[in-house]
């Protein structure tokens, strides 16, 4: 899923400083699962913002609404009747949400309350890690199901680099060197030979480097 972190209170307060009445919109998709922008977090943020603004002597009115998904035009319609009753709309969905909202309601102004980070999952309660960079051409089968594109700091197809030490990446002591893990796994399974293959330079056209992407499923297009 898409992992996001909530922006700092200061940054959010600064974004909405000129508004007196806003709608705070959550999303029941990924951001609910990673505990950043679901119904519960919408409620919490609304309370914190109201308290902070009251302290500043500049109270704000905040209504709350959490959509099924902000990345789906069908659910985006759920605020059609109310969107224009506010000075602005603050979205707690990933970066896709406020954009779908902006496109559906061009006359309203939308602000992001979260920073969208990566595709990943929870490795333990409260800790999420990156697993995929959406490169558009999945190659993890070459690496026993581990992705060096997303998980190696240098996206090496042939690793590890000289900075790998004690299983850790050169960028920080607490970052796993995925290449060390890949090599160990291959060794354990007696398939180290696999890594001798020199692969062609990666085709980055299918990744973000090829420009904005689109996926068309002919059988579904009406």
């Amino acid at each position: 899923m898409i992992i996001a972190d909530r922006k700092s209170l200061e940054e959010i307060l600064d974004m909405i400083k000129d508004f007196k009445k806003i709608l705070l919109v959550g999303c029941k998709g990924c951001v609910t699962v990673c505990n950043v922008g679901g119904e519960k977090e919408v409620g919490v943020l609304a309370v914190i913002l109201k308290i902070a603004r009251k302290k500043e002597g500049n109270p704000i009115e905040i209504d709350e609404k959490t959509l099924e998904r902000q990345c789906d035009p069908e659910y985006v319609e759920q605020i059609r009747d109310i969107f224009d009753q506010y000075d602005a709309v603050l979205s707690m969905a990933c970066g896709v949400g406020p954009q779908f909202l902006s496109e559906a309601y061009p006359s309203q102004r939308f602000f992001p309350a979260v920073d969208t980070k990566f595709f990943g999952g929870a490795v333990q309660h409260g800790i999420w890690e990156e697993r995929c960079a959406g490169c558009g051409t999945c190659v993890i089968h070459h690496y026993d199901g581990l992705c060096p594109i997303a998980r190696c700091s240098k996206s090496l197809q042939h690793g590890p680099c000289g900075g790998s030490a004690d299983g850790k990446c050169e960028i920080a002591k607490d970052v796993e060197c995925i290449w060390d893990t890949i090599v160990k796994k291959k060794m354990e399974q007696g398939r180290l030979e696999d890594l001798r293959t020199i692969r062609a330079p990666k085709d980055w056209q299918t990744a973000r480097d090829g420009g904005p992407r689109k996926s068309i499923r002919e059988e579904l297009v009406q």
Partner: protein, 288 residues
């Protein structure tokens, strides 16, 4: 006298584009450049235009500088991150390259290495900011430099636009000038009337604009430019080239006329793009 001084005293400057080789054989580039060096004020060395891999602009410019020729090194945002860009700018200045031209760089999809990643770490305006920061003796991270460069900085401007697009282009040009751009290279011109709307809006005495004069190597090329690359070439001009018994002589005659018109209009100079006809440059320059 360096290019900057020539601009300062108002000399009509002649620039020539000198493409580095795709490979290591530099003799053709060096020979074409040295042959016309007396008539050319500076050689513009492109940085892998259209994302086609070849010898870098820094390499090409250094080779020409070593022969005593003044160069303008093109720098793009596509192929290098901010570390490499700053490093190469320092290298360039250290090797005597006093003039640079910043460009964004075309998408790799247009070139010959489609699968690569474009870097685009910093954009063009940030690149100009990086240049001016280096000139104050600091790098982009705020660290002190041991000796600061002092470049003459160029950028592109599109003189062919009209209406709303012209307004946008003028605002972008002003933005670049504020960011430290000293001169502007404009696209190929074949009919000075086509850029009249631009000329009306710009004080050519205050802004150094250098249109490109391209040698038309064939009727086919003229038609292609006209149809596909948004370069207006009139039917009359194409017919003139068609009727000419010797296309090369006619093409040079056409270029000579354009150069005279550009000069008379008060532009700061011209950039000659010989399109592989570098050996004909001398003939053209003899006439100018």
């Amino acid at each position: 006298m360096h290019l900057k001084n020539k601009f300062d005293v108002g000399k009509f400057t002649i620039l020539a584009e000198m493409q580095p080789p795709k490979g290591v054989n530099v003799s053709a580039m060096v020979n074409s450049a040295t042959r016309v060096q007396k008539a050319v004020d500076a050689f513009l060395v492109p940085e892998m235009g259209n994302a086609v891999m070849r010898m870098s602009s820094l390499g090409g410019a250094m080779i020409l500088q070593r022969k005593g020729l003044e160069t303008i090194m093109q720098v793009n945002c596509r192929d290098r991150n901010r570390i490499a860009l700053q490093a190469d700018l320092l290298a360039a200045y250290g090797c005597g390259i006093l003039n640079i031209m910043g460009v964004s760089g075309e998408d790799p999809g247009l070139g010959d290495h489609h699968q690569t990643k474009a870097v685009d770490d910093i954009d063009l305006m940030t690149l100009f900011k990086a240049v001016s920061t280096l000139q104050t003796g600091k790098d982009l991270a705020g660290n002190e430099l041991s000796g600061a460069p002092a470049f003459l900085v160029g950028a592109n401007v599109n003189t062919r636009v009209t209406g709303d697009e012209l307004e946008k282009e003028l605002s972008r040009m002003a933005e670049k000038a504020e960011a430290g751009v000293d001169f502007f290279i404009a696209p190929p011109v074949f009919d000075i009337g086509a850029i009249a709307p631009f000329m009306e809006k710009v004080d050519l005495k205050k802004t150094r604009i250098i249109p490109t004069v391209m040698l038309l190597k064939s009727v086919g090329m003229a038609r292609y430019l006209d149809r596909h690359l948004n370069v207006t070439i009139s039917k009359d001009l194409i017919q003139r080239l068609m009727r000419a018994p010797d296309k090369a002589t006619e093409s040079l005659a056409i270029a000579t006329e354009i150069i005279s018109a550009v000069k008379a209009a008060g532009f700061a100079g011209i950039l000659i793009s010989a399109m592989g006809w570098e050996e004909k440059l001398q003939k053209l320059l003899d006439r100018v």
